[in-house]
């Protein structure tokens, strides 16, 4: 119990650092110096030091949504954090639906303020969600199938036994595509843009400011970290011999997560945003790879 709590706190605290690493890596890939790795922490501190401006026309949904979103991501972090131990809550279906609940509330809130950008962001996010959720489910199922369990701990254990087998390689690519979509990165969404007309995730939260915006940003960063951890746990399971014996398995895991974050930055730099109506094709590729992974078992 205490261990789980410590893990959750560590993951939440490290999430902005992972974001900072991605930003710095991106800047370096573009020949820029970029802001400090710690910039996301400064940004959060700034947001939490500010008041929120709330439109007088909004309902309770708008006020509640940041907390719900944060709570679902917090719970998802918990699910992943208990993954090592055997727990009845550490189930992949619970994880998927927690993320879905958070997304649902953000989309509701985006419509609430009645601004055109929010509505567009919400409608695009839902359009994507219809495609992303089955893709995520399929990718995880292909892992669960080998493990014969939907418990995250069991899945990770089974994955550790068979690194580099064909089903895992196919599923890894499928999951990485979902990872890009879930974290709102190029070629699906552009987290750095100021162009409201092109926004998806950022469009949904345009009406938020101050503390609620900080909460949403923090939750998004934590969600990104959770997704990266899942990717590493299932698809990059191999150990450096000696490290685990020395009790440094945790550090090796963190390094792998950071490398995966770097990979995300590399993909973002090497291409541009796709036209939104071509995204179903990309996610269909992910689904297809997962199906192939299932067949290959």
């Amino acid at each position: 119990m205490i261990n789980t709590l410590i893990s959750i706190i560590l993951i939440m605290a490290a999430a902005p650092l992972i974001e900072g690493i991605i930003k710095t890596a991106k800047a370096r890939f573009q020949n820029r110096r970029g802001p400090s790795v710690l910039q996301p922490y400064y940004d959060l501190a700034k947001f939490f030091g500010k008041d929120s401006v709330v439109s007088p026309t909004v309902s309770w949904v708008f006020r509640l949504a940041p907390y719900v979103y944060f709570a679902t991501v917090f719970a998802a972090t918990g699910v992943v954090a208990t993954g090592g131990e055997v727990s009845q809550f550490a189930d992949m279906l619970i994880l998927i639906y927690l993320l879905g609940l958070g997304r649902f509330f953000l989309a509701l809130a985006s419509l609430d303020a009645g601004s055109a950008f929010g509505g567009m962001g919400g409608s695009r996010e839902m359009f994507l969600a219809v495609l992303v959720e089955p893709a995520l489910l399929l990718a995880l199922i292909s892992v669960a199938f080998t493990a014969n369990t939907t418990a995250l701990g069991g899945m990770a254990g089974a994955a550790g036994g068979l690194p580099f087998s064909l089903p895992y390689i196919l599923a890894a690519i499928a999951f990485f595509i979902v990872l890009i979509a879930e974290t709102g990165r190029i070629p699906v969404d552009n987290p750095d843009t100021h162009l409201e007309l092109t926004m998806i995730h950022e469009g949904m939260i345009l009406e938020y400011s101050g503390r609620s915006l900080g909460l949403i940003h923090w939750a998004s960063m934590a969600k990104q970290t959770v997704m990266l951890m899942l990717f590493v746990a299932f698809f990059v399971p191999w150990d450096l011999p000696g490290l685990s014996q020395a009790g440094l398995g945790g550090i090796w895991f963190v390094i792998k997560v950071m490398l995966a974050a770097g990979l995300l930055a590399l993909v973002e730099t090497s291409t541009n945003k796709m036209r939104i109506f071509k995204l179903p094709g990309l996610l269909a590729v992910s689904c297809l790879l997962s199906l192939l992974a299932l067949v290959a078992q």
Binding site: Q30, N31, P187, H194, L195, S270, N272, K273, K278
Partner: protein, 503 residues
């Protein structure tokens, strides 16, 4: 000095129809002038461009008494739509039969019946805030909604309001409400001496400073009937081409921001910065201000600087080609720009579109070649033209022009006559009520300045037709039919200027 065919206002339609000659000439500018102090009437000028001969032909219609009315030319030349609305706003002359006489320059907060460009308008007047209507046409129907964007935008850009009528992501109609920061420069320079007015003219726009100052200076020099020293002409063209270079390079980089291609953005930004630092070294100003002046140029270049320019051009050429290679090899990038935001050739012709916007739609015009000014007739360069009219065409036209511009600068540096004597001809006493047209091809297209002198070496009237003024209406034609997230991309491919129309 310019010659005008004078006609009565009610004969304007016939006169223009005859001059347009079924598309052989284009209506390139139309403006009014309050000449009641000179000859007792309001005047409307129509300037036509005859590409085959490289000449401008001018028609002048006189409106002798109130009510000041003239037949609208929109049905004859659609390009007249904005000009007539502006004349209606600023002079109170009414184009009879205009399909859309909503205010253009002066918005709903400007009181009725106050015409700022008339001579009897009191400049010191504190104008009260009016509360008129400004209807913006929209599309109605099941599932159709409107998306208002601006006038304040998230990036550091100028103000403009865009109203999209949407069905899902598809844009059905786009209305642009612009002119939020109209500065009244044309009014402000009235009564000023040419030299004083020049500073305001040079500051109409940042990115087109050279082009505007060149067009204005040439108009003044035509009135004064002087020629400027040969070396000064070469230096003018050098600065004009350096302006085109940093604009085009920066615009190619910026286009990448429209589709989130970060390496292109930082690459383009870096090369542009290199060029702007060169600009500063050359003229003391990153926008190349301070070089051109009516009568010649203010600054000379040393041999050191010549070799420095050559060096930087070499670096720019290599780096820019590398950037273009990256773009050309990226399938995802090409996928976004091909067939996006098509401006049909006929629309480009009808709206008298200029510059890159026109040349990407198969309209082969370039003032430097068709209406040669300064020393462009002594230079060897090509005018790139594409026919597909999409974002890609506008991008590749810019890319090809960068190559041509680098060539032009090399030619200039090679053949510039040695410096001897002054770089500036003194402008003599200007004849009163004489007028002339000056023009130059900016990075965005042709800029026209029409200047009329008053008593004692002052300006009586200045009319500025910037390239952006001619091209803004084309944007609202190119966008419908595309999806909304492509708007920033299409907008950046036209790269229109707000300051150039808010003169």
């Amino acid at each position: 000095m310019m010659k005008y065919e004078e006609i009565e206002a009610d004969k304007l339609w016939e006169g223009v129809a005859k001059l347009l000659c079924g598309g052989q000439r284009t209506l390139t500018a139309m403006f009014a002038n309050d000449e009641r102090m000179v000859n007792g009437s309001m005047a409307i000028y129509c300037i036509f461009a005859e590409n085959s001969s490289g000449k401008h032909i001018a028609l002048k219609a006189l409106l002798k008494e109130e009510p000041y009315e003239f037949p609208s030319l929109v049905a004859l030349a659609p390009a007249a739509a904005w000009y007539e609305r502006e004349i209606h706003d600023l002079f109170g002359l009414v184009p009879i039969g205009h399909p859309d006489l909503r205010p253009l320059v002066l918005h709903e907060n400007w009181p009725q019946g106050l015409y700022p460009l008339r001579k009897d308008f009191d400049e010191s007047l504190i104008v009260s805030e009016a509360n008129k209507n400004y209807p913006i046409p929209g599309v109605e129907g099941a599932g159709v909604f409107e998306v208002p964007v601006g006038p304040i935008h998230a990036g550091i850009i100028e103000p403009g309001h865009f109203r999209f009528s949407q069905a899902g992501e598809n844009v059905i109609n786009l209305e642009a409400k612009l002119f939020y920061t109209h500065r009244g420069i044309e009014k402000a320079v009235e009564g000023l001496s040419v030299e004083t007015a020049f500073y305001q003219v040079e500051r109409i726009c940042g990115a087109c400073s050279v082009s505007h100052s060149m067009a204005f200076s040439q108009a003044v020099e035509k009135i004064a009937e002087i020629t400027i020293p040969a070396r000064a002409e070469y230096l003018r063209v050098l600065t004009a081409e350096l302006e085109r270079l940093y604009n085009h390079v920066g615009d190619v980089g910026n286009l990448c921001a429209g589709l989130g291609f970060a390496p292109g953005v930082s690459h383009g930004g870096r090369i542009k910065e290199m060029l702007m630092r060169l600009n500063e070294e050359l003229t003391g100003n990153r926008f190349l201000r301070g070089m051109i002046t009516p009568g010649g140029v203010n600054l000379d270049i040393s041999t050191d600087l010549v070799s420095k320019i050559k060096n930087i051009l070499r670096i720019v050429e290599t780096d820019f080609k590398e950037l273009i290679e990256i773009l050309k090899q990226s399938g995802a990038f090409l996928d976004r720009i091909d067939t996006t935001g098509i401006l049909p050739r006929q629309a480009a012709l009808d709206l008298a579109t200029v510059g890159v916007g026109a040349r990407a739609s198969g309209v082969d015009i370039d003032l430097r070649r068709d209406f040669p000014y300064s020393v462009y007739d002594k230079l060897d360069f090509k005018v790139p033209v594409r026919v597909s009219g999409d974002v890609a065409a506008r991008l590749w036209v810019r890319v090809d022009e960068v190559i041509q511009t680098v060539q032009i600068i090399h030619q200039i540096l090679h053949s510039i006559p040695p410096g001897e004597g002054l770089l500036k001809t003194v402008i003599p006493e200007l004849p009163p009520y004489a007028s002339a047209l000056g023009w130059s091809e900016s990075a965005r297209g042709g800029n026209l300045h029409w200047v009329m002198t008053g008593q004692d070496n002052t300006l009586y009237r200045l009319f500025v037709r910037s390239a952006s003024y001619a091209n803004w209406p084309a944007l609202t034609v190119a966008v419908p039919g595309n999806i909304m997230p492509d708007f920033p991309l299409i907008n950046k491919s036209f790269e229109l200027c707000y300051a150039c129309i808010d003169r």
